[in-house]
């Protein structure tokens, strides 16, 4: 009987403590409710998305990794796919415009940018309710909205019409039913999102000198908005904004062009928007794959430890585009010794690349090179995420936007003066161009060599309507009216229940 009683008591005891017994909080993961610094952490998480480079379906996708390199540089007449013939044929498809909607690099870009936009939306939602002071909140919102605008600007240039996603879906059902998530918004609508976000950022951010290094500041937002206006041919607005940036006194050209893309040139006086790198968890932290994919690759007789996969190799056409004496040529391109004298190529950190018979390609991107000698540049051995800062916007481009806008507004002399500032730094004589049309061409030409391998060329050709002509001249299989844009990834179309429409010709 006693046993019965004890058992009964035990059962009852279990029943009564059952409520707490089943309330087991999730282990090892903070929730949005339990993280005390949620909003500020989420803002850093938005910046973190700038470093994503998962090109093969990995979580987070690719914002500035191999897919970005392929869709901005390799696709253009500045660079070829490079590497070996058989490696990454899908990248070759981008190079030759034989790409299809199943291309994994294109899919990774879509994933990467929308992943980043979603992080921005999350952070903005958290900032609304965060208990931090209004000024900080305003500033952090400005930084996040800048990044969201930047992502949409890249998306609209890659894909044209894209879904307009400016809020966090409640759950999967919400994401799968709201037409905004399922259909593409017109290009104008997307540009409206971009300009609104940038205008907000300009109003809420401080000048560079009052901001922390690496953070988005007022000048960053003004420069990007000016560039957006350039794409919209809003010359007056572009001119005014670049004028503001120039007059702000926050920026100047660095004297030595070759330092721009080295560690010594990180966050220099010329830097406006620069993706940061550093260390985390006792390892290197930077854009996934950026340097490794573009590193010089062993070939032929081999016999040396190469630096990477050898993709995105400068074309002979780019090599020929530099005027004699232009210092930017040697700062942009690694020339592999093909003289037959076997002298090899000595890089700035002393590293010697053997001559052509041991190397896969003849040209490599110097701007993506990061020294593996820790005495020269920071390096902890993580090739996949080398500490390479990637410059997205810099002062030289502000001058070139200013020049182009001025020229279109009929202020040819102003345009020439801007242009010559850039040329002088490159150790070139003043431009000989005169007259609006000539100056326009000179500015476009200058953009190519000044910003070579800086992810601008293809967009610039499409913007200025020269893509078809230039690509065909470069021997590429470019179809006008089709290849200005990338195809919408087929998986995303399938997931939308075919409500996402495809770009023309794909």
């Amino acid at each position: 009987m006693k046993f019965l009683l004890y058992t009964g008591a035990a059962l009852l005891g279990l029943a009564s403590c059952q409520k707490s017994f089943l309330d087991v909080p999730v282990q090892g993961q903070a929730t949005t409710a339990t993280d005390p610094n949620l909003a500020t952490n989420l803002v850093t998480g938005v910046y973190n998305s700038l470093l994503n480079g998962e090109a093969f379906g990995g979580s987070g996708g690719d914002t500035h990794g191999p897919s970005f390199i392929a869709a901005t540089s390799i696709i253009s007449d500045d660079a070829d796919k490079g590497s070996t013939q058989g490696d990454q044929p899908a990248m070759g498809d981008i190079d030759n415009f034989s790409l299809t909607p199943t291309n994994n690099f294109v899919a990774a870009l879509w994933d990467g940018y929308y992943s980043g936009i979603s992080r921005s939306n999350q952070a903005l939602a958290a900032l609304q309710t965060a208990s931090i002071d209004a000024k900080t909140k305003n500033q952090l919102s400005g930084e996040v909205r800048f990044i969201r605008a930047y992502y949409y600007f890249n998306l609209v240039r890659f894909f044209g019409k894209v879904p307009k996603v400016v809020r966090v879906p409640k759950d999967a059902q919400d994401a799968n039913t709201d037409p905004n998530f399922q259909t593409r918004a017109p290009v104008d609508t997307i540009y409206k999102v971009i300009t609104d976000d940038l205008q907000f950022a300009i109003n809420s951010l401080d000048l560079r000198s009052a901001s922390q290094t690496g953070h988005i500041n007022k000048g960053t937002a003004q420069t990007l908005l000016a560039k957006v206006y350039l794409y919209q041919k809003k010359w007056k607005e572009a001119y005014d904004l670049t004028q503001t940036v120039i007059s702000s006194g926050q920026y100047s050209l660095v004297p030595d062009y070759s330092t721009l893309w080295r560690q010594v040139g990180n966050n220099s006086a010329e830097s406006i928007f620069e993706i940061q790198s550093g260390q985390f968890n006792n390892s290197d932290m930077g854009i996934s794959g950026y340097s490794m994919w573009q590193g010089p690759r062993v070939g032929g007789k081999g016999g040396w430890t190469d630096l990477g996969f050898g993709f995105c190799t400068p074309t002979p056409d780019l090599v020929a585009a530099y005027e004699p004496g232009d210092v930017r040529k040697a700062a942009t391109i690694i020339f592999i010794d093909n003289s037959g004298k076997y002298t090899g190529t000595r890089l700035f950190d002393g590293f010697r690349i053997p001559s052509a018979d041991s190397v896969q390609n003849l040209y490599y991107n110097y701007k993506a090179y990061h020294s593996e000698n820790p005495q020269v540049e920071s390096y902890l051995g993580n090739r996949g995420q080398k500490q390479k800062n990637v410059k997205i916007l810099r002062y030289a481009e502000v001058l070139l936007i200013h020049a182009e806008a001025a020229n279109e507004l009929g202020q040819t002399a102003t345009a020439i003066a801007d242009l010559n500032q850039v040329r002088t730094r490159a150790k070139l004589a003043a431009t000989t161009a005169a007259g609006q049309a000539d100056v326009r061409n000179a500015i476009w030409k200058e953009r190519r060599v000044e910003l070579a391998m800086e992810h601008d060329r293809f967009f610039d050709l499409v913007r200025t309507g020269r893509a078809a002509q230039v690509m065909k001249a470069a021997g590429k299989n470019f179809v006008a009216g089709k290849n200005e844009l990338l195809p919408v990834p087929s998986l995303q179309i399938a997931l939308s229940g075919n409500r996402l429409d495809q770009n023309n010709g794909y």
Binding site: T32, F56, Q276
Partner: protein, 1006 residues
Amino acid sequence: MNQMYPLTRSVSRKLSLLLLLTLLFHLAQAADITVTGIVRDASSGDPAIGVTVKVKGTSTGTITGTDGRFSLRAPDNGTLVFSSIGYESVEVPVNGQTSLTVSIKPSAQELAQVVVVGYGTQRKVDVTGATVTIKGEDLFKQPVMTATQAMQGKVAGVQIISSGQPGSSPVIRVRGTGTALAGTAALFVVDGVLTDDIANINTADIVNVDVLKDASATAIYGSRGANGVVIITTKKGAAGKMSINYTVNAGVRSAANLVKMANAAEYANYVSAASGNLVQPGTVSTDWYGQILRQGFQQNHNLSISGGSEKGTYFLSLGYLTDQGIVIDNQYKRLTLRSNNEYKLSEKLKAGVTASYSNGDNQIANLGSAYNNAYRAAPIIPAKVGGRYGNTSVYQNVGNAVLDIENNNNNVKDNRLQGAAYLEYKPVTWLTFRSSMGADWINTNGRVYNYKFENDTVTFLSPGGNQRNPNSNLSFKNEKTLHWTWDNTVTFNRTFGRHTITALAGTTAEQFTYTWFTAFRKDVPAAPNLWYIGTGNANTSTNDGNGDKWSRNSYIGRLNYNYDDTYLLTATLRADGSSRFPKNNRWGYFPSVGVGWVISNENFLKGQNLFQTLKLRASWGRVGNDRIPSDAFTVTVTPNLAYPFGGGIATPGSAVTQIKDPNLKWETTEETDFAVEFSALKGRLTGEIGYYNKKASDLLINVKVPSVSGDGDGVVLTNAASIRNQGLEVMLNWRGKITEDLSYRIGGNLTLNKNSVIGLNGGQPILDGGIGAAQQYTTRTDNGQPVGSFYVLKVLGVFQTDDEVAAYKNAQGTVIQPSASAGSFKYQDTNGDGKIDDNDRVFAGAYQPKAYFGVNGGITYKSFDLSFDIYGNVGNQVYNGKKAFRQAVTDNVERSMAYGRWTPGSGIQNEPAANAGNLPASTYYLESGSFVRLNNVTLGYALPETVLKRLGISTIRVFATLQNIYTNKKYSGFTSELPGDPTKSGIELNAYPTTKTIAFGLNLGF
């Protein structure tokens, strides 16, 4: 009851006294002699195992061993009683004989055997659900590691898919794929302890395995019942003489099937044609698979000691198993110890402990990249010469597969304690209280060391390439799991006239905790005695860790009603509360009801001789599945998404990268089951034929969401789909005797199953089975199709000429494949839009077989015994994913592709011209998964008694066994038995090749 208690105590005291007096009387009267002998099954002539042998009127006794033999001390004028479940008892007077041969007859109702049904036992005849019992000895005779694998082909409705990897646990699928989530594993209950994996259980220790298949049988396990329940009962000692048993088997394993790759000349020919550049075959021709595969040695030793007295019994066992596996550098070792004890504390109170310890040591071969690279690597590169490796990566950007395996040392050791202690109290004969506390504690230590090597001539025959590791590194992973269960039940069992009622009520509580951490450093020296974190470069330290915890609380009830052994009713109800669901959906209720009609006990069938037993049964039940991650409904923040503002040490950040469904609810499966069971022709023919209809709804599946949703991995867990499995199961067994010395048995089972998704509940079809290269997905789980159906382009043939390419147009006259040329595949333009893309994909079959079957049989002739079993399945498709690895022109090809390739004028339609790979997902990669294989053949010989007597040993049996020795399959890859998650199964990517084994063994009993 208060009155009854002292009464029974006084009665029992008197009884004990009486017993003692009787014993003393016997000791004074008679001389004990040793009696040995063998017990045989009267119908088959097989040795009868586990038969209790007792000296009548005493508690002295023993049980027969695996050879049917026994030995005990008995008075020379005594009587021995032989009894066993399912057999009629036999009494044999000793009459001074020291050697006896005894035949025992199966009882008229073979179905009267007792089966384990979860929180109790039932007579088989009373069971109204679908359950099957397999004897441990039938499993143990196979040279495989787990009982699960040994069950393959033995039970209708239970599909077991196993890889050849040492130390791995097979996938078990009861009555088709009933869920789309990762939690598809059946529940294992080992002596009352709930677990997901039985890799720690020594098959030699198992008495019986009971498989509960339908929802009415598994409903007592509620939310764990949806995928079937496998109940394992381990051995106990029997009162009587100590018995010692030793069994060993040892043998060699090798790959059951190999894929023939092109040799150097064939490769050179193919690649020259594909690339247009002449490739020279050179002087070497490497068989890369041959380089990484080998014959492996395996052995298994088991020693057990058991016995006991009236006060208690014991069973102790020691098992040691090693399996080298068939991949170089691979080895698995397992040591198991078991101690099962039972104590009779008083007439009313019983206590017991079942405890097992296992120690696994798994030296893992890095098959992931090696397998892929062995497929792709050019045969013109040598594998390894004089300790230096052929440099494949400098030639073709593919790693050297041998180096992939040899450049690291990956070892996982686990220690596992599993057991239960119980107390059982019977205040009166018809009432039993039982409290059982079980625990499963696992501690796993993984260690991976990656050697430093450069792409120089120290490591390679020629320098360069991408395969190198400039810094050695060492990582550790420690995992600890504790899962405890506490069951409290009360069972009532009484007969009133023709009515028998058994009722059970109880509660259970469970908690699971899991923690892990990792540590990592670089620059650890290569000597194994220095493989500790402290020897590495502290500047490179990283670590990580996390954990999991969930709990479950349940109430259970069961009622069995039997009227005159003819009309049966079973009803169960379980209420489960789980911490894995949000508060509003936390409790699930899982009822079941079953009825049975034993027609053979009806008067109108009395007097007929055809059927000894004939029973109809029908049941319905509802079960659930809560095997989802504990964080599935809570939105959590992913930490450590840092950003290095201004360089230097990065600032930590975070993001919400996973969308969650805040209203997750229980996944429920409802199943109806009808069956007829019979035993006919004097018990020689037994069988069971059943039909089931199982509908799973509110299935938790990971639904893909568009990238615009911002979900990091693109999938969200939600209650979206419904799946139906309908099927027919047939099991038939025949046993017969030709002469006194020659008997035989033959049995078979067949399962027909139809799986289909019957609703997506507004969700998206699931696209899965991505392979990489150009094949982002290969399966689609959609309405009306089986789960994980292949969804690919349809190959219509090969363009024979460029004119055919130009002539292949849609209705509007658009050339469909303008970039194709003669020798390219011609794909079906399903939607007729004039181009080939994902919209042209078609459903092309699924990995789930339409039918699977087993055949088993045996012959016993005098002291020889021979048994065999066959297993197979038909009607499924498998995807040759490794063929899709081929993504560069320099990659190797299969020999059949080298010879079967299209050439102008060949007319070949099923293989394209030499190409660079990277082809889209299509029917080209799909092949029939049908196969039949000879799973096991065992020949044994037991030494005759006359010899044994001289040696003073009770058993010596030698045997030879062949496992998986012959396969007839259509598939061209290694194996068509491919485990995998429900929405991406049946794809051969880097599967460990299945093995065949030849082993010899010895069994000694004392």
